[in-house]
Amino acid sequence: MSNPTDLRYTASHEWVKTEADGTITVGITDHAQELLGDMVFVEAPAAGRKLKAGEECAVVESVKAAADVYAPVAGEVTAANADLDNAPEAINNEPYGAWIFKMKPDNAADVAALMDAAAYQAHVDSEAH
């Protein structure tokens, strides 16, 4: 699966979508779900929680392992995806649809500074070596 070009990406394998109202939606990339395998549990941050850029804020667990999800930028959590409570496998089936949380960034420019799809792919390729 190729990485959608309308998203931004982090080195820790989160994807970030900027919504029309300026909030952002965050999930983990296809590469990340592929590495982790079958998802069985997701713990998302509560709405209202203030996050620093790079802060551990969610956990995704596969049968194999637990992995932290990091805040891509500083801001405040506005929503968590409750659908994942009963269907964590949605992250495997549809990594770019199964979002984990939404947040309001403190600074929109922080989002623009994240990697684009091509830069993220180069990052994944470099990690493979």
Binding site: G37, D38, V40, F41, E43, V59, E61, V63, K64, A66, D85, N92
Partner: protein, 360 residues
């Protein structure tokens, strides 16, 4: 360090396996979805590359008497040729060197299957003990043999489809019994809690056997599902649920240790002198989350630790084996420390699942 490979390495890659370093071996962790592979074995059948495990033949006069002294379980329980016995092999101080299966073939020949990571250590220990107790024995590591486990309710039928010449010799086998069919040594044993066979055969034949099974509809299963299947079945994993620092009575293996008979065996005196203060218990997580090895377990009788934890695909709950203070009882609710939270788990009697069904 170069990883060791089994004769099926190329076949795994051709079948789309994701390969991982498993104790120095380049092994398949899954071929797609680990959960699908798990259900495949519980509901139909699947095949596992277990060539990394080691087959050891102990031959000569007095082999039974030697094993009676070497192992915590009693080789005298084996009276019917082909019958198998699960046992721990202990240090004199009582710690577990390895867990293994012995097959009684004749009074001159017992076959032993040991874990991959401990094989060299095990064989060195056996030979050292034999030097003084039974120097007439030959103890041979059968590096010429490969092993494939075919497991699941339909496993035996599939093996007979591929090796019809072995059917007559193996269809009467009861659970934990093996037959020597010339090139193929076929045992009704496994590590999944399902029916099936473990097949030992010459290394150069194993790739063809693997592909023939696959053509017959047997899917390859990775180490990921092997771990969830064995944990649901309540089977220990050496190095995780036990090692040389703990004894069999702290590891859920009291049923394999015979302390009542007159028989002496290595480790017996230590076990009698040191009654266990802890035991292995089953846990089912009541809250949301996933139990993992090394998480702390808080009980009214003191703290314990999870030795193996996972998500159970059969129960769709998280389950674990944990070493807990001996006064913890089935039915108790305990707390497990997961990251910054204390989550509730119930102490249960395990196995958690076998023969296609959840038991909790």
């Amino acid at each position: 360090m170069t990883l060791k490979t089994t004769p099926l390495n190329a076949a795994h890659r051709a079948m789309g396996a994701k390969m991982v370093d498993f104790g120095g071996w380049d092994m398949p962790v899954n071929y797609g979805s680990q959960i699908d592979e798990h259900h495949q074995v519980r509901n139909d059948c699947g095949m596992f590359d277990v060539c990394h495990m080691r087959v050891v033949d102990a031959k000569g006069d007095g082999v039974r008497a030697f094993l009676r002294y070497l192992l915590a379980n009693n080789a005298d329980k084996l009276t019917v040729p082909g019958k198998a016995l699960y046992s721990a092999m202990l240090r004199p101080e009582g710690g577990v060197i390895d867990d293994l299966i012995i097959y009684f073939m004749t009074e001159q020949w017992f076959r032993i299957v040991v874990n991959a990571g401990t094989a060299d250590k095990d064989i060195a220990w056996m030979k050292q003990q034999a030097t003084t107790r039974a120097p007439q024995l030959t103890i041979t590591s059968r590096d010429d043999l490969a092993m494939v486990a075919v497991q699941g309710p339909n496993a035996r039928t599939k093996v007979w489809q591929v090796l019809p010449q072995t059917k007559a010799a193996t269809e009467h086998l009861v659970n934990f019994q093996a037959a020597d069919c010339g090139e193929y040594f076929i045992a009704r044993t496994g590590y999944t809690g399902e029916d099936g066979f473990e097949v030992m055969l010459p290394k150069e034949k194993v790739e063809a056997f693997w592909y023939d099974l696959n053509k017959a509809g047997v899917k390859p299963i990775g180490l990921g599902a092997r771990d969830t299947l064995r944990l649901e079945a309540g089977m220990n994993l050496y190095g995780q649920d036990m090692d040389e620092t703990v004894g069999p009575l702290e590891s859920g293996l009291a049923w394999t240790v015979d302390l009542k008979s007159e028989r002496d065996f290595i480790g017996k005196a230590a076990l009698l002198a040191n009654p266990p203060s802890s035991k292995l218990v089953g846990l089912v997580l009541l809250d949301r989350g996933v139990l993992r090895g090394h998480q702390k377990v808080v009980t009214p009788h003191g703290d314990g630790e999870i030795t193996s934890g996972t998500f159970s695909p059969t129960l769709e709950k998280s389950i674990a084996l944990a070493r807990a203070p001996k006064d913890v009882q089935i039915g108790d609710t305990v707390q497990v420390v997961i990251r910054d939270k204390m989550l509730a788990a119930q102490v249960v009697k395990y196995p958690f699942a076998r023969n296609g069904k959840g038991l909790i």
